[in-house]
Structure formats: structure tokens, C-alpha cells
Amino acid sequence: MNLLIKTIVMTTALCSCLLSTAQEHHDHEEANSSYASHSGHGASDGPVLTRTEDIESALADGGEPIVADVLGVVCDFCALAMNKIFSKREEVAAIYVDLDTKALNLVLAPGASMSDQTIADLAVEAGYRIAEVRRGDAALGSAS
């Protein structure tokens, strides 16, 4: 009986928190959508390149920017997996997996290239799936 009471109390408390969190998550997403147009997200083409120091440096060196929307990226282990797999490639000069935008941000080494299929295959090696790839101006958010 004691266990039953403890279990019911804990489950009730947790459900309350989950419902509260779900509402906050919904509110947060609504806020994000209104923020998107001036925070690095394209209005309709998905997130654009997240600019870390490494990314900026690689861009300054003339590398091609790539942003790939990744499905299933929900935690740091996901980001770590993508980092480990892509960082091994000599074509990649800088990488950042952004959990907020759910995007893989790459800048290639100057003169290097990497096909969409290669990016998709490497993502599979990491355990994930690519939904869309944007390059150049589209990745930077400066496409017309």
C-alpha cells in the first residue's frame, strides 16, 4: 500500500510537470517562429549557417558553407556522433551541430567539395538522416 501511494504521488507529480513542459515547449516554438526571420533562419528554407569562431575562420579562408537539416538530433550524443564522423574527413574545415536549429553546419576546406550523397552517407554512419542540404548563398541566408 505504501509503495502504491508513493508510485501514485510520483506519477501524478511527473504528469503535471510533463503537461506544464509541453505547454512551455509549445510557447517556446511559437516564440522561435516569430524570431526566425532575424535570427539566422530563412523565412521558408530552413535554418542558415550557425557562425562559431571555427566556422567564421573557415569561411574567411574561402571554404564552401553547407547547412544540412538532420532528423533525430535531440541530444549531445547525436552532436558528438556527427562531429566524430565528419571531422575525420579532410574536406571538412569546420563543423558545428546546432541542436537549436537541428542542423549540421559545415564549411569545407578551400577548393574541396562534398556531394549531397556523401553527406547523407556520413550522416547514416553517425546514425542519423539528412532531410535537406543547402549550400553557398542558401546556406548563408543571402539567396534571393
Binding site: 508513493k6 506519477t11 513542459t21 541530444c75 550524443f77 556522433a81 546514425g127
Partner: protein
């Protein structure tokens, strides 16, 4: 003194652990160390992921209640991963075979032992649910079945590299135990390659400690 005792218990728990949690298959070429300790046993698993759908590695499990240790090799198969822009779901099957050996003065002879089970989880950046079940057969050391379900939520959404915090509740069922159902609230901290969980089983008053390190 209470804090020191708690820290000591958690440390001891870390050294000894059960059923693999927290992404038991890594990226291709990755290595992972997992330590777990719950109300029944403690275990350490080191696994390698040759391909993104499966991993394998040695595992040592100490069953404290039944005084035996199991030295095994555990393969884990990622049977299915569901992808979405905001979620990920996984279905795993795992097994293990090895030698069971008496501990703590248990005079029983070593015997071949094995186990098999299933794990499933569903996760967004702020909500989590999982289920796992395992059957263990260890000859004269006994048989065990357990199943556990877990729900959790993150009070905030951290970005890449931030400290991620989760509050969770696990309900486990072990038919062979006198307290067959128990509840364990726990907290999960997650930063980069390290995941640590600490909790306390309210039913049998024992700590829970798990960690996962991926490299």
C-alpha cells in the same frame, strides 16, 4: 556525514552495474563505457560500434542479491530508429553469453549463463520515455526477469555542449523480488560525451547510479 555516506554509496554503485541504457549503439567506429548500478546488481559494459546498427563488447555484472557475477560478451542490435525533425525513437534487441561465477563466498560452481532483452525509447529535447526488459538464465545461480519503464522531462533545452538536465521517474518490476515493483526518481546530467544519472529507489531505499561515456 550523510553526504559523505551518500557519495560513498554512489561511488561503490558506480564500480559494480544492469541493463544498458542511453544509446547502447554509437556512431560507426565509436567506443562507449557504460556503468550502471540499481537495486539488484551493478555492471560495466565497454562496447565498440563497428556499424551504426550494432555494437558489441565485454560486460561484467555483479548480482548483489544472489551473490554471483556474470562475465559476458554483449551484442546490441539497433533494429529500428524512427526519425523526425523534433524526435527520435529507437528499438534495440540485446543479448549476452558468458560465465556465471559465485561471489561473496558463494560455493556454487561456475556455469554458462546468458540473457536477452529488448529496449525502446522515444525522446525529444524536452521529453523522454523508455521501456526495457530482460531475462537472465544463470543455471543454479537462478533466473531473473525484469522490466522497467521510464518517463522524464528536461526543465530547459540546452544547446550543443551545454549542461543538459533531466528529471525522470523509473518504475521497475522484478517478479522474483519481495518488493516486486519499485519506484526510482532520478536526475540525469548530460554534457558532451558524458551522461550521469543519480537516483534513489524509494521502495527499497537503495541508490541508483549510471554513467555513459562516449568517445
Amino acid at each position: 556525514m550523510t553526504a559523505m555516506r551518500t557519495a560513498l554509496l554512489l561511488t561503490l554503485g558506480c564500480l559494480i552495474s544492469i541493463v544498458t541504457l542511453a544509446r547502447p549503439v554509437s556512431y560507426t567506429g565509436g567506443w562507449t563505457v557504460i556503468g550502471e548500478s540499481d537495486r539488484q546488481s551493478s555492471a560495466v559494459l565497454v562496447h565498440h560500434t563497428p556499424a551504426h546498427q550494432w555494437s558489441a563488447g565485454p560486460r561484467i555484472e555483479v548480482n548483489r542479491d544472489d551473490d554471483f557475477a556474470l562475465y559476458s560478451v554483449q551484442p546490441t542490435w539497433l533494429a529500428k530508429r524512427w526519425f523526425g525533425a523534433d524526435y527520435q525513437g529507437n528499438l534495440y534487441f540485446f543479448g549476452g553469453a558468458g560465465i556465471a561465477s559465485g561471489t561473496n563466498g558463494n560455493p556454487l560452481d561456475d556455469r554458462i549463463a546468458g540473457y536477452g532483452g529488448v529496449m525502446a525509447d522515444w525522446e525529444t529535447r524536452s521529453r523522454f520515455a523508455s521501456y526495457r526488459a530482460r531475462y537472465l538464465g544463470a543455471s543454479h545461480f537462478g533466473e531473473q526477469f525484469m522490466q522497467a519503464a521510464r518517463v522524464g522531462f528536461a526543465p530547459y533545452e540546452g544547446d550543443t555542449g551545454d549542461l543538459h538536465t533531466w528529471l525522470m521517474l523509473e518504475i521497475d518490476h522484478r517478479p522474483s523480488d519481495s518488493d516486486s515493483v519499485s519506484a526510482t526518481p532520478l536526475v540525469r546530467f548530460f554534457k558532451g560525451p558524458l551522461l550521469v544519472e543519480a537516483g534513489y529507489n524509494l521502495t527499497v531505499n537503495q541508490p541508483l547510479f549510471n554513467f555513459t561515456y562516449r568517445f
